[in-house]
């Protein structure tokens, strides 16, 4: 009988449960995907240039666990809000508290187990799919990556089962303590917001101070050490909460006081909607803004690493590729290069000791080298070589010229006048290439380099002469980090979406009646739609903006790892805003479908 009641509840409110269930599935899928990386230490070690990466990942896992915990608590209160009327009804019909307790326990844990199981399955597919896609996109080796990872499965089940048992206990205790009348009509209790001015000001000040401390910690993480990160995390979370609590309430009160604004159309209603369950919103908005910051931060840093690869690779050479006297196969590959911005062919000749380039050819098309100048504190500079400075620089920085000598390892290169050059033998060709996008040509360049090495076993004196060599080493090191950044970013984004959607859609059930009433008293559907767009818009915009500010400060942390963490922000922010906007549109659309009735005569 008991299990029949518990499962009957599931069947009756399928749509509500579908929202809850899909959210939990996403949470456990994300958790699994993360753990599949975090617990795979051999994978982490092979794909990261930094020794404390497992530590970073461990930290990320703790963070994800905290957020998942908050999320489960939240989802759980949604579950309770759906069921409390039913439970109260059972109690009214004479069910004992202990029975109700068992009922809740059974239901919560059953849902939890189902969701975790489904989540792990989706997580497996997701890890495989996203993993493969990212590995391909980044030419990463990703050695040791496996979608099916037993420790991760155990961790996920363990973690979620414990969480659900805890929340079942919490639900039972909470429900049995609440008076029956409140259970039956909690949705109607208004939340009169009475805030004293002093407390309001204190919250603003405290919020700002906490945020400042957090931002300071991130900016000076190098001096403060590893404890800067947890400190920043706590202060920023708390600061955000206080700020939302105070500023949000203050803003609504201010707008409501502005009569000419508030008395237009549904403005009063929209503002009241926002302030009605204000406590819930501030809590959830703080969580969401942190999630926004983490998602955006992870994507930005991930992209930062991809940007670092060409920047670092270009430190050693100006040219993306140089080719020495190609054979037919190499020539065929050279034609496949895309977006070639610069291609120049020179003739070089050699004797026993030296390689020569003619003055005329050089002055017509000067070569360029990257040199690390000792007198300028090792700063890199690009030097354009003509017949005037070539020999001087070539003898001083001969290491930078290895790329030009082709199959003449061990010799140095000099410029010579045209007459002397004409008398020399052993003519070879040297072709320099620059392409618009190295990554796009990665496979072709790899082929050419391999072919050349087969053709000329003595090619190039130094491993880093060809840009490809340094590029592939850097790519191997950094793509692991990029991979992490992307993965975490997408995971957090998925989590964020379901958290916010949850909050808003669980409110929709209460709001249904209100919107029906408004339609009955003659509110145009388009006015209602606008009100919904504004209300949800505010709920998305506030944490979005705060999250972005967190990221701008949080990037300070990465000053020591990334070349230029603040460059190329448009791409990650753009991607994020686009995705975030998509979630906004989706939530608005779903919400409107729930609350705006086509059939007004229907009883709500």
């Amino acid at each position: 009988m008991l299990s029949k009641l518990a499962l009957g509840g599931l069947k009756n409110r399928f749509r509500d449960y579908a929202v809850l269930f899909s959210g939990l599935v996403i949470a456990s899928a994300v958790f699994y995907m993360f753990m599949a990386l975090a617990t795979n230490t051999s994978f982490l070690k092979q794909n990261s240039p930094i020794s404390y990466t497992p530590f970073i990942f461990g930290f990320g896992a703790v963070l994800l666990a905290i957020i998942t915990f908050v999320y489960i608590v939240y989802a759980n209160s949604f579950l309770l809000s759906m069921r409390q009327r039913d439970y109260a009804m059972f109690m009214m019909l004479g069910a004992k508290g202990r029975k109700i307790g068992q009922l809740i326990f059974l239901e919560t844990v059953a849902i939890g187990l189902f969701a975790t199981f489904a989540g792990v399955l989706i997580g497996l597919v997701g890890t495989d799919f996203i993993g493969k896609w990212l590995i391909h996109a980044l030419h990463a080796k990703a050695t040791g990556f496996s979608a099916f990872w037993m420790p991760a499965i155990l961790w996920t089940f363990g973690f979620f089962v414990v969480l659900f048992i805890l929340s079942a206990i919490y639900n039972t205790a909470k429900l049995l303590k609440m008076p029956m009348m409140r259970l039956l009509r909690q949705a109607q209790t208004p939340n009169r917001v009475k805030q004293k001015k002093g407390i309001f000001a204190l919250q603003v000040v405290l919020g700002l101070i906490l945020l400042a401390v957090g931002y300071y910690c991130m900016a000076n993480a190098l001096h403060i050490g590893l404890k800067a990160i947890p400190t920043a995390l706590v202060t920023i979370v708390m600061g955000t909460y206080f700020l939302f609590n105070a500023v949000f309430v203050g803003l609504i009160a201010l707008l409501k006081r502005d009569r000419s604004f508030a008395s237009k159309q549904l403005h009063t209603f929209t503002l009241s909607q926002l302030s009605f369950r204000i406590r819930d919103y501030t809590r959830i908005l703080s969580v969401v803004s942190i999630l926004v910051a983490l998602a955006l931060g992870a994507i930005t840093v991930g992209l930062g690493f991809t940007h670092d690869i060409p920047v670092l690779a270009s430190q050693y050479t100006v040219y993306d590729l140089t080719v020495a006297s190609p054979n037919a196969q190499t020539q065929a590959e050279m034609k496949k290069l895309q977006g070639v911005t610069e291609k120049q062919q020179y003739t070089i000749k050699s004797d026993d000791k030296m390689v020569y380039i003619s003055q005329r050819a050089l002055d017509a098309h000067p070569l360029k080298v990257q040199i690390r100048d000792q007198s300028m504190k090792g700063k890199l500079r690009t030097v354009t070589l003509t017949s005037r400075n070539f020999n001087q620089i070539a003898s001083k920085y001969y290491g930078a010229f290895g790329i030009f000598i082709g199959n003449n390892r061990g010799k140095q290169i000099r410029v010579t006048d045209n007459a002397t050059f004409a008398k020399l033998g052993n003519a070879e060709t040297l072709t320099t290439f620059r392409v618009k996008n190295f990554n796009q040509n990665y496979d072709t360049i790899e082929k050419i380099v391999t072919l050349q090495q087969k053709q000329y076993p003595k090619l190039w004196g130094n491993d880093t002469d060809q840009k490809f060599v340094s590029y592939s080493i850097l790519n191997g090191m950094y793509s692991g980090l990029t991979f992490m950044g992307f993965f975490l970013g997408l995971s957090f984004l998925a989590m964020l979406a379901s958290t916010l959607m949850f909050k808003i859609l669980s409110g929709a059930n209460y709001d249904k009646r209100r919107y029906l009433m408004l339609q009955k008293i003659g509110a145009r559907p388009q006015v209602l739609r606008r009100s919904i767009r504004q209300e949800i818009g505010v709920l998305f915009l506030l944490p979005g903006v705060v999250g972005m500010i967190h990221v701008l400060f949080g990037l300070q942390l990465f000053k020591m790892i990334l070349q230029a963490p603040y460059d190329n922000l448009i791409v990650p922010f753009g991607v994020f805003i686009a995705l975030y906007g998509l979630y906004y549109l989706m939530t608005t659309w779903m919400y409107q479908n729930i609350v705006i009735n086509k059939d007004l005569a229907a009883k709500s």
């Binding site: 208004p190 008395s263 009063t268 209603f269 003659g522 007004l600």
Partner: protein, 252 residues
Amino acid sequence: MNRQPVVTVENVTKTYGKRGEKQTPALKGVSFQVEPGEFVGIMGASGSGKTTLLNILSTLDRPTAGAVRIKGEDVTKLKGNALSDFRAKKIGFIFQDFNLLENLTGRENIALPLALQNVSAKKQQAAVDQIAATLGINAVLDHYPTELSGGQKQRVAAARALVQQPDILFGDEPTGALDSKAARELLDTMDDLNKNHGVSILLVTHDPFSASYASRILFIKDGQIGSELVHGDKSQEAFYQEILETLGTFQK
């Protein structure tokens, strides 16, 4: 003064069930009129079709056939924004369960129909204060619905229904959730609105006492109007007795 009927119902039928499925007739050709300043009661048992009729009259639902005219305008032809605006301006509606928005104060609830029409803030305040004075709820305007008694809630709802000075006020069992004292007070208020402020009222109820306030009562049974009682010069007590007798024979 325009003497055209406030509400004209012509041969309205309503059948539930899609084509090809089982057809369930709820209204089988109902016709009547409400004259300006009239207080008409509609009585009937559960399932008699009175709620369907009220939903059609108040434009929440459409009839399968027939016409409903309010002040000469055929409301069954209205669509989209015109329909919403018509509802906001021409019809007042009070419900058994009040249908107040519990996240707005009394004042905000009452001003809502005006705000929807973009009336200026000043005019909104003036209109709210005036109607609140008529209904005697000035003191509770800044309270939220959950802080009000049932009677007060229904007065706030009535104020919201009347603030636009609609052509007609529809009541759907407005005393259904009130205690007898609050019910009597609300009915007295409605009587006052009808007699002294010229508000036309159409009240749907199954409570004979509420119905005894009406000047004319239509009895509906199985989707048709069965009989009609007129208050005339009778005392309210006598009219009440007459309703009870009619109900006694009518339901058989």
